[in-house]
C-alpha cells in the first residue's frame, strides 16, 4: 500500500509536469466536437440528437492520444526495468501509474465531454446522465488503452497500431454506454446500464493491471 501511495504521488507529479501530455487530448477533443457542426450541418435539432454520441466518440479518440503518452518515456528513464526489480509487485506500481493517469489525464477529458455535448445542444438533464456514464466507463477505457500502449511499446510505428488494437475492444463499453442518454431522455430506467458499465470497469480494474504488467514484461525479454 505504501509503495502504491508513493508511486501514485510520483506519477502524479510527473504527469503534472508534462502538461502538454495532459492538455493535448483535451484540445483534440475540443477540436473533434467543433468539427461536428461542420461535418454534419449546423442545425440545432440534428446536433442535439447526435451530441451525446459525438461526446462518446471524442472521448474514445482522445483517450487514444493519452494512451500514446502513457508509457512513452519509460524505456529511456529505466522505469520499465525498475518496476520488475522493485520488491513491491510490479502490478501495484502499474496500478499506481494508471490511477495517476486516470486522475490527471482522464478525469479532465470526462468532465469536458458533457460540457462539449451541451455546447452542441444536449439538454443539461441528459448531460448529467452522460457524465455519470462516462465516469463509470472511464476506468475500463483507460485500462484497455493502457493495454494497447503496453503491447505496442516495443514497436517503432506503434502510434498507428495501438488504436487499431484497442478500439474494437471498447465496443462493449460503447454499446452499453451510448444508449444511456437516449433511454434517459425517453424517461426509461437506465440503472441496469450503469451497473453494467460499473461491472466492466471493476472487471478491468481487477484483471487489467495484470494483463498490462504481462505486456510490459514482454518488452524486457530482449
Amino acid at each position: 500500500m505504501n509503495a502504491f501511495l508513493a508511486s501514485f504521488e510520483r506519477e502524479c507529479r510527473i504527469a503534472w509536469r508534462q502538461k502538454m501530455d495532459v492538455l493535448n487530448p483535451l484540445i483534440f477533443m475540443a477540436i473533434i466536437i467543433s468539427l461536428a457542426p461542420l461535418a454534419l450541418e449546423p442545425s440545432p435539432r440534428l446536433l442535439a440528437e447526435v451530441a451525446a454520441g459525438f461526446a462518446w466518440l471524442a472521448l474514445l479518440l482522445g483517450a487514444q492520444l493519452t494512451g500514446s503518452a502513457l508509457f512513452a518515456d519509460d524505456w529511456r528513464t529505466g522505469w520499465l526495468k525498475q518496476i520488475f526489480l522493485s520488491p513491491s509487485p510490479a502490478t501495484v506500481l502499474v496500478l499506481a501509474r494508471l490511477a495517476a493517469w486516470w486522475l490527471l489525464g482522464f478525469l479532465p477529458l470526462v468532465l469536458l465531454s458533457p460540457l462539449a455535448a451541451m455546447m452542441l445542444g444536449l439538454p443539461s438533464a441528459s448531460a448529467m446522465a452522460l457524465l455519470l456514464a462516462l465516469l463509470l466507463a472511464s476506468p475500463a477505457l483507460l485500462i484497455f488503452t493502457a493495454l494497447g500502449a503496453a503491447l505496442t511499446l516495443g514497436i517503432g510505428r506503434a502510434a498507428a497500431l495501438a488504436p487499431l488494437l484497442v478500439l474494437p475492444l471498447l465496443v462493449p463499453l460503447l454499446i452499453f454506454g451510448a444508449g444511456i442518454v437516449r433511454l434517459h431522455a425517453d424517461g426509461l430506467p437506465v440503472d441496469g446500464q450503469y451497473w453494467l458499465l460499473a461491472a466492466l470497469s471493476m472487471l478491468s480494474i481487477t484483471l487489467g493491471p495484470l494483463a498490462v504488467t504481462a505486456a510490459l514484461r514482454l518488452q524486457l525479454v530482449d
Binding site: 493495454l147 497500431l161 487499431l164 454499446i175
Partner: protein, 253 residues
C-alpha cells in the same frame, strides 16, 4: 499422474511429433470435410423444401450459419491456444493460435458477405448498422488487430505472447456478439436453435445444416493442421529431423 500428463503433452507438442500427427490426420480431416460439405450442400440446396416466407433465398443459411458459428469458435480456439501458450510455454500452442487467426478472419468475412447477400433480397438492403452485424464486423477487426500486432513485432516469441494477451482480452467481446441477438431487438432473426424450444426449422432443413456445420468444423481443423505444418517446417528448417525427412529417410514420429 499429473507429471505423466505433462510429459505426454510436451511430447505430443514437440515439433516432429506434432508434424507427424498432423501428416497422418490431415487427409482424413480433408476428405471428411469435403464429403460433409458436398452431402450437406446437396441436402440444403436441392433436397430441403423451399421456405414459405423467404423462398429460395433462405438456402444461404447453409453457408452463413456455419461460417458465423465458426467465426466465434475459431476465436475461442485461438484464445485458448494463446492461453496454453502463455501459461505453459507450449510452442505448438502459439503456432496454432497464430495460424488459426487468418482462418477465423476468413470465416468472419464469409459470414458477413453471405449475410449481406442474403440481406439484399430479404431486408432490401446490403447492410444495416444493427448490433449483431456491427459486432460481427468488430470481430473481424479483432482478428485483423491480432494479425497486425503479431506481424509488427520482430521477435517471434514476444510477438506470440503479445498477440496472445490481446486475444485473451478480446474474449470479452465474444459473449456480447453471441447474445446480441437476444439482448437487442435487432433486425437479425433470432437463433435457429433454442435449447429450450428446440429447432425453429423443419427436420428436412436441419440435417443439411448440421452436416455443413460439421463440414466447416472439419475444414477448419484440416486448414489448421496444414498451416501449422508449414509454420513448423519454416521454424525448424535447420533441424535434423526436417533434413532427414527431406532427404527421403523415413522419420520416426
Amino acid at each position: 499422474m499429473a507429471s505423466r500428463f505433462w510429459t505426454w503433452l510436451h511430447k505430443k507438442g514437440s515439433p516432429p511429433v506434432f508434424y507427424g500427427m498432423a501428416e497422418r490426420w490431415s487427409p482424413w480431416l480433408g476428405w471428411a470435410s469435403l464429403a460433409a460439405l458436398v452431402v450437406g450442400l446437396y441436402g440444403g440446396l436441392v433436397l430441403a423444401p423451399t421456405d414459405y416466407q423467404q423462398g429460395e433465398s433462405y438456402r444461404i443459411i447453409y453457408i452463413h450459419v456455419p461460417a458465423a458459428w465458426m467465426s466465434l469458435f475459431v476465436y475461442m480456439f485461438m484464445a485458448s491456444m494463446a492461453a496454453v501458450g502463455i501459461i505453459w510455454r507450449l510452442k505448438i500452442a502459439d503456432t496454432m493460435a497464430l495460424v488459426a487467426a487468418p482462418i477465423g478472419a476468413m470465416f468472419t468475412a464469409l459470414a458477413l458477405a453471405t449475410g449481406s447477400i442474403w440481406g439484399k433480397p430479404t431486408w432490401g438492403t446490403w447492410w444495416v448498422w444493427d448490433a449483431r452485424l456491427t459486432s460481427e464486423l468488430i470481430l473481424l477487426f479483432l482478428y485483423l488487430g491480432y494479425i497486425a500486432l503479431y506481424n509488427a513485432m520482430e521477435d517471434e516469441r514476444t510477438a506470440a505472447r503479445a498477440a496472445g494477451i490481446l486475444a485473451l482480452v478480446g474474449v470479452v467481446n465474444i459473449p456480447i456478439i453471441h447474445f446480441s441477438v437476444e439482448w437487442w431487438h435487432s433486425l437479425h432473426q433470432g437463433p435457429l436453435l433454442d435449447l429450450k424450444k428446440g429447432w425453429s426449422l423443419q427436420p428436412e432443413m436441419v440435417w443439411p445444416l448440421l452436416t455443413t456445420m460439421a463440414g466447416f468444423q472439419l475444414l477448419f481443423f484440416w486448414a489448421l493442421f496444414r498451416r501449422s505444418q508449414t509454420v513448423v517446417l519454416l521454424k525448424e528448417a535447420r533441424s535434423k529431423w526436417v533434413g532427414a525427412m527431406l532427404s527421403g529417410d523415413r522419420p520416426r514420429f
